[in-house]
């Protein structure tokens, strides 16, 4: 665990001192929102939550999923440069800790970006207004929980994916294609939970999706921690 924290602290230092990663990721998420907003809504403004909710949920989660993928890719690309990855793998301790460290390093900037992207997206896509127009308050707490769980799930899955692709030999090119479907459940659960929350507030269905998401997060992290050593070993 100490190692995981050390790796995370190192990654955060690289990210934080320069603060570029954060800015660039935020920018990136913002631009995805804008492009999607323009491409999808085609200028149609709607006050109906049944129409705006899926759009808002789709755009926000596309932006966050991509931000997670970019972050994870960066986390390993950075190690790869100048042969530092082999050195990292040579440190004592279990290799699983390295996965956790990478994940912890990827998460905080992502959460920060999510904290900006979600409200911005809700406002831009008129979802927040649609909800308030329907006489309900926006379920902020529930949305925050969904976001946190979702971002964790995306980060866990994409970081694992990144660890597989970083060292890839051409022979194993199929591996990532196999790992890709891992993302499907996470995407499904976050998107549905967000949409349901926007359409009608908290409901048992939301609980089901969030429980599922929690299970997915835990499952992915445990599985990835166990499989990571095999994925990177020399």
């Amino acid at each position: 665990m100490r190692q995981a924290l050390t790796v995370a602290a190192k990654d955060l230092r690289v990210a934080g001192r320069t603060r570029d990663t954060l800015l660039a990721t935020a920018f990136f998420a913002g631009i995805v929102l804008l492009v999607l907003g323009f491409a999808l809504s085609g200028g149609v403004v709607s006050r109906d939550a049944r129409l705006t909710a899926p759009l808002a949920a789709g755009a926000i989660w596309t932006a966050l999923a991509l931000a997670a993928a970019v972050g994870a890719q960066r986390a390993f690309a950075q190690e790869q440069e100048a042969g530092a990855l082999e050195q990292l793998l040579a440190y004592p301790g279990p290799h699983g800790a390295l996965y956790l460290g990478k994940l912890l390093g990827v998460l905080p900037p992502l959460l920060l970006v999510a904290a900006v992207t979600v409200p911005t997206g809700l406002v831009l896509f008129g979802a927040s207004e649609a909800v308030t127009a329907a006489g309900r308050a926006l379920p902020w707490a529930a949305l925050a929980l969904t976001t946190a769980l979702g971002v964790l799930g995306f980060a866990a899955a994409t970081t694992f994916y990144g660890s597989i692709t970083v060292n890839l030999r051409a022979r194993e090119a199929l591996l990532p294609a196999l790992a890709f479907p891992i993302l499907v459940p996470a995407v499904l659960a976050t998107v549905q939970a967000t949409r349901l929350l926007l359409e009608g507030g908290w409901s048992p269905e939301v609980t089901t999706w969030l429980t599922f998401l929690t299970a997915f997060d835990l499952g992915t992290i445990i599985l990835a921690t166990l499989l990571f050593p095999a994925a990177v070993e020399g």
Partner: protein
């Protein structure tokens, strides 16, 4: 394993290899290497370009697995990568530093990963990098990177330290410094294995000389 050479842990060996073969891609690099290095010994590893010196060091640091044969490093089986990694440090040719961490941060990171404490500013002063402590490794010159990697190996002082071409890229003062620091490491009881193309310089630190040729390891000169 022949003659169960690892039976007695008291008779400590830093490295024991028994008929190790190693294949990389379509090339067979090691063709039956057998080696015993008593703990605390310094070994100079010679060989032509492409002979397999770096590959052998990577094997000993558990970065590669033998295709055939067995080996132990400080009593740990080579296949037990976790045990091996606990005991060794490999100083690679290119330094293996993080380009976007500063010199000081690179050292601090290595120490924390080993759960060790150490005097980072002192180590940097020792290798003449006190002025570049806050410079990112990316912007260090080739020789300065080598010095930084050397400072790291010296700070960590693992029981078995593997050093790949420590003299390359260094000026004369740097070469003397390498000898001095590596000798200190041996003084602390560390075993050393140095792959180098400068036998005269390396043998001062590690008198036993081995030569790798055709995938086989041979003793050279008087040990």
């Amino acid at each position: 394993m022949t003659e169960g050479g690892v039976a007695d842990p008291g008779e400590a060996f830093a490295v024991q290899l028994r008929d190790v073969w190693l294949r990389l891609g379509r090339e067979v690099i090691l063709r039956g290497v057998t080696l015993d290095v008593p703990a605390g010994q310094g070994v100079t590893l010679l060989g032509e370009n492409g002979a397999g010196k770096t590959t052998l060091l990577r094997l000993l640091s558990a970065g590669l697995r033998p295709t055939r044969g067995e080996g132990r490093v400080l009593g740990f089986d080579l296949r037990d990568s976790r045990g091996v990694r606990d005991a060794i440090h490999l100083m690679p040719v290119d330094g293996g530093l993080y380009p976007d961490l500063t010199a000081a941060e690179n050292l601090a990171f290595a120490l924390r990963m080993h759960a060790q404490a150490g005097d980072v500013p002192g180590a940097l002063r020792r290798v003449g990098l006190e002025g570049a402590a806050q410079r990112r490794a990316r912007f260090l010159s080739a020789g300065m990177r080598k010095r930084l990697a050397l400072a790291r190996a010296h700070l960590l002082a693992r029981p078995l330290t593997l050093v790949d071409e420590p003299f390359a890229n260094l000026d004369d003062a740097g070469r003397a410094l390498v000898q001095e620091l590596l000798l200190e490491l041996r003084g602390q009881g560390c075993s050393l294995m140095i792959a180098a193309h400068e036998p005269a310089l390396a043998q001062v630190v590690a008198p036993r000389t081995l030569r790798l040729a055709g995938g086989l390891l041979r003793e050279e000169g008087g040990a």
